[in-house]
């Protein structure tokens, strides 16, 4: 009998290790990490106000004063996530803790964080702020909605062309700095990806699970539902939704989620049908274990693997959908978004290449990163093509 290396790791750990074993996925994860960093710390990375300054001996941090509720909540959630990750608890408990923590943070933020309502960015370039003992500015000294009126901005300008102040990626049509908007737009892209996919996943798992476990009439009805949502020209439905309901970021996330669940449902259903026949599930039934245990302890953890692959690709798809909508002129209006910037590339008669290359490039890198991660998961979970000699020794 050939000896196999006895590994002392759990199934999940093994999959994770195999996934990380490749160059592509590292690039993908690195990019996603970069995006997360940018999204969370955006107000500190690109802002018109100083991070820290000392004036007449008094140290103040204007950035902190002007942090919006959303900014604060995002920061809080990030640190909660880090803390929960460190704790040694079961996965379900950790997720629950995280959700509770962020809900609590939302409530607290609502109560206590009250930034000034109106922000005039020109002030930060006035003497009150420039004539200080010392000050530390964020790496990119422009806020995303700072239209630089006082500096005589002329709308779309190519990178490094304007004299007096550097715009590494040029400016967009209203005069704001492109790089700054891109950093702040990370938030939208990430949240759209996660929330839309999360909704789609939830609906898909529930419907698919029910179909797979109960079969019969439930299955038939479910399949019809799946077919309907599959056959609807998704983009078209999105367009219809947005055109008729108006543009709102949250609405878009929900809609992308609600239209995209059919793929997950199919996956889950197939897996459940397969799993029902597995011997260990039959053994669980024969031992009289309750339904909840059979579903959640025996079937679901073993069926999750292909979902990981699907979710990675799904997130990529959601980001693309948002970008497409923005491009067609139906996206969010003043919050910075990559798709919206891409739209500006062709709007005028000249081809503003920097509006296409940078935001477009960001979209591309993000989608690419998620695809790489999805591919790595798929290779780790379904190693049919490992170099076997095709021999039964």
């Amino acid at each position: 009998m050939t000896e196999h290396a006895v590994s002392r790791e759990s199934f999940a750990a093994r999959i994770w290790r195999k996934t990380l074993d490749g160059a592509g996925v590292k690039v993908g994860l690195a990019w996603v990490a970069l995006l997360v960093f940018a999204a969370v710390f955006a107000p500190f990375l690109a802002n018109s106000m100083p991070l820290l300054m000392s004036k007449n001996g008094v140290i103040s941090a204007p950035v902190l004063q002007y942090l919006s509720m959303e900014d604060t909540w995002v920061l809080a959630t990030f640190f909660i996530a880090l803390a929960v990750y460190r704790l040694r608890l079961g996965t379900a408990k950790r997720i629950l803790l995280f959700l509770l923590g962020s809900a609590l943070a939302a409530v607290l933020v609502n109560l206590f964080v009250k930034p000034p309502v109106l922000v005039i960015y020109d002030d930060f370039r006035s003497a009150a702020y420039t004539e200080a003992d010392w000050r530390i500015m964020p790496p990119i000294p422009y806020a995303p909605t700072d239209y630089l009126r006082d500096l005589g901005s002329k709308g779309l300008e190519a990178p490094l062309v304007t004299e007096g102040h550097t715009h590494l990626m040029g400016t967009e049509e209203n005069g704001a700095d492109v790089l700054s908007r891109m950093i702040h737009a990370c938030r939208i892209s990430l949240s759209i990806g996660l929330i839309a996919s999360g909704i789609a996943l939830l609906i898909g798992v529930v419907v698919g699970g029910l179909m797979g476990y109960f079969s019969g009439v439930v299955d038939m009805l479910g399949m019809r539902l799946v077919e309907i949502f599959e056959d609807i020209p998704t983009l078209f439905l999105l367009l219809t939704f947005v055109a008729f309901f108006g543009r709102s970021l949250y609405m878009m996330m929900v809609i992308i989620g609600v239209t995209g669940w059919s793929g997950y449902a199919r996956y889950v259903r197939t897996e459940f049908l397969k799993l029902r026949k597995q011997d260990y599930v039959q053994a669980a039934v024969a031992s009289g274990l309750p339904l909840s245990s059979i579903l959640f302890r025996h079937m679901l953890p073993n069926g999750v693997a292909p979902l990981l692959v699907a979710v990675s690709f799904g997130v990529a798809g959601a980001i693309l959908s948002e970008a497409t909508l923005s491009f067609l002129g139906l996206g969010v209006v003043d919050a910075p978004s990559w798709g919206q910037m891409l739209d500006q590339a062709v709007k005028s008669s000249t081809f503003n290449w920097w509006m296409a290359v940078f935001p477009g490039g960001a979209i591309f890198m993000t989608v690419f990163a998620y695809n790489l991660i999805g591919e790595a998961f798929r290779d780790a979970i379904d190693p049919k093509l490992s170099s076997k000699a095709g021999v039964n020794t």
Binding site: S7, D279, Q282, A283, A286, S287, S387
Partner: protein, 544 residues
């Protein structure tokens, strides 16, 4: 010795697997005279298949290498031939057939096309018409019914046995001198196996070809071979004439293997508390007129046109404390019956009573307490344990649900005891299934079946996927557990040797019905039903 058709000298084959090098064949030598059959025997991982594939050089070049050795075929070293050279040999001088007839034929080509391809490859001057003729002749030679019609059939339209005949016809089409057969009958039912083996012997007599026959079944060896080679972990531990090796094995491994055969196993003297007359007690399990029918739906509105009668009006009594073997070939319904008893399959009609209590028609909640009395162990070691759970969880969860053990520590203690009773170490509790071998997993499966302290266990082909030495251990373990706990077992199998060793009673099934049942000695010694007779005759025995 120049009378040898094939001479393998000091062959080494190394395989690359997951970055490591495996010495699949390590300094192996043997030879096959003209017209004789050489059997290569061994357990899984012994290297017998790799040796066969090496002879015909069918191993992928990026994975396999032959650092040393010679393979002399009619004096010519096959290892030194270039690519066109070895291709000229393959199919025309040395042919090979494989184990799985289902996947070894191309599903999108007709069998006629596949056989004529072999012909026209090595006889390019042959016309299409002549090739078709020769193909039909070849099909008739392998006793394929309605050969000329079959020419245009696709592989999926044939049965397993027929497909293997097609493979043989394809291999013999160009009249090779040597036929390599890699476990050709392992995937077939025993009656079909008997026919195929008979066919192969006849063909060998007719054509005078030699055969290199790979198998793990000593009964087959006894029937087919003049020469035997026993392999263990890449090395050839014993070679010699068949009668000598089988009757007077010299190497300890060969002796071990032969001793592990069910026919050679020593049955422990059982001191059972109950008298041999089990007829005066109420049977533990009573099955009456059980039907498990699956509807076949066709047509526009999916109406039920017919049924697959998996279990067709079966009535059976299983006495307490006995091991009842349920035998039959594939598709006879034995697995469905086993599962139906445990309510894992819904019976269409009929009654199943355990200790007088009716099982059919109960709700899940009513059934739960009854489930403690009956459990099941499965065939496939790969899928019988939840890969995500520690062994400890798999064993303690049922206990928790049924209220066995006052707290978690007690349950862990009990689980540890269970593992020890199947001869495994206690700290295996803290490992995952993938860390164990097939045999160990089957033991854990048995331990799981014992968690609720049942009275009745269905063993669904639990040793069919195991090597013969591991099988012997599991069978002996089963007997000792039965002794300790006074269990009743329904042992489903297709292996008659195991039946004779293990069981007290035997039930024979065919196409959903019971054709014969009774004491094992009776059924196996003096079978009454023609099917049972056919079945028993077909089993390849060691003593000829």
């Amino acid at each position: 010795m120049s009378g040898q058709l094939l001479e393998v000298r000091n062959l080494r084959t190394y395989l690359q697997a997951d970055g490591r090098e495996v010495r699949a064949v390590d300094d192996v030598s043997f030879s096959i005279p003209k017209g004789d059959t050489f059997c290569l025997v061994g357990e899984s991982g012994s290297g017998k298949s790799v040796s066969a594939l090496s002879v015909i050089r069918l191993l992928p070049q990026d994975v396999a290498s032959h650092p040393s050795g010679e393979i002399l075929f009619n004096g010519c070293d096959l290892l030194k031939l270039d690519d066109p050279g070895i291709r000229a040999v393959r199919g025309s001088q040395i042919a090979m057939i494989f184990q799985e007839p289902m996947t070894s034929l191309n599903p999108v080509l007709t069998i006629g096309e596949q056989i004529t391809e072999a012909l026209q490859l090595h006889r390019p001057e042959m016309s299409d018409a002549e090739a078709e003729q020769r193909t039909i002749m070849a099909l008739e030679q392998v006793q394929m019914p309605q050969a000329s019609r079959r020419f245009r059939d696709y592989p999926h339209q044939l049965s397993g046995g027929q497909r293997q005949r097609v493979m043989i016809a394809m291999a013999l089409a160009c009249e090779p001198q040597l036929l390599i057969a890699d476990e050709p009958t392992t995937a077939l039912d025993v009656t079909v196996q008997a026919e195929i083996l008979r066919l192969m012997r006849k063909l060998q007599d007719d054509t005078g070809m030699s055969m290199l026959f790979i198998t793990h079944d000593f009964g087959v060896v006894a029937q087919m071979a003049q020469w035997v080679g026993v392999m263990q972990q890449g090395k050839m531990v014993e070679v010699g004439p068949c009668s000598e090796v089988l009757r007077k094995p010299r190497h300890s491994y060969t002796q071990q293997l032969l001793a592990a055969l069910p026919e050679n196993l020593v049955k422990p003297v059982s001191v059972r508390p109950h008298s041999q007359n089990a007829t005066d007690q109420t049977p533990l399990l009573q099955i009456r007129d059980l039907k498990v029918w699956f509807p076949i739906k066709k047509g526009l509105l999916r109406r039920t046109v017919d049924y697959v009668r998996a279990v067709d009006e079966v009535s059976l009594d299983i006495p307490q404390g006995q091991i009842v073997a349920l035998v039959g070939e594939s598709g006879c319904g034995k697995t469905t019956l086993g599962r139906a008893v445990l309510q894992l399959e819904q019976p269409t009609s009929g009654s199943i009573q355990i200790q007088g209590q009716e099982l059919t028609g109960l709700s899940a909640r009513e059934l739960r307490p009854l489930r403690r009395k009956m459990q099941i162990a499965f065939q496939d070691p790969q899928s019988s344990l939840n890969p995500r759970l520690l062994i400890e969880t798999t064993l303690t969860e049922p206990m928790k649900v049924h209220g066995i053990g006052a707290n978690h520590e007690q349950r862990i203690e009990l689980a540890g005891l269970l593992l020890e009773s199947v001869q495994l170490k206690r700290d295996f509790l803290w490992r995952y299934p993938h860390e164990f071998s097939g045999g160990q997993r089957q033991r854990i499966g048995l331990a799981r079946a014992l968690t609720l302290n049942p009275e009745f266990i269905v063993c669904d082909e639990i040793t069919s996927a195991l090597d013969v030495s591991v099988q012997a251990e599991i069978l002996q373990l089963l007997l000792s557990i039965r002794q300790q706990r006074n269990l009743t077992l329904l042992f489903i199998t297709h292996n008659i040797g195991v039946v004779e060793y293990l069981s007290d009673r035997t039930v024979v099934m065919y196409k959903g019905k019971i054709v014969e049942q009774g004491e094992t000695a009776q059924v196996c010694g003096q079978p009454q039903h023609p099917y049972t007779q056919k079945l028993l005759e077909a089993v390849p025995r060691l003593s000829l």
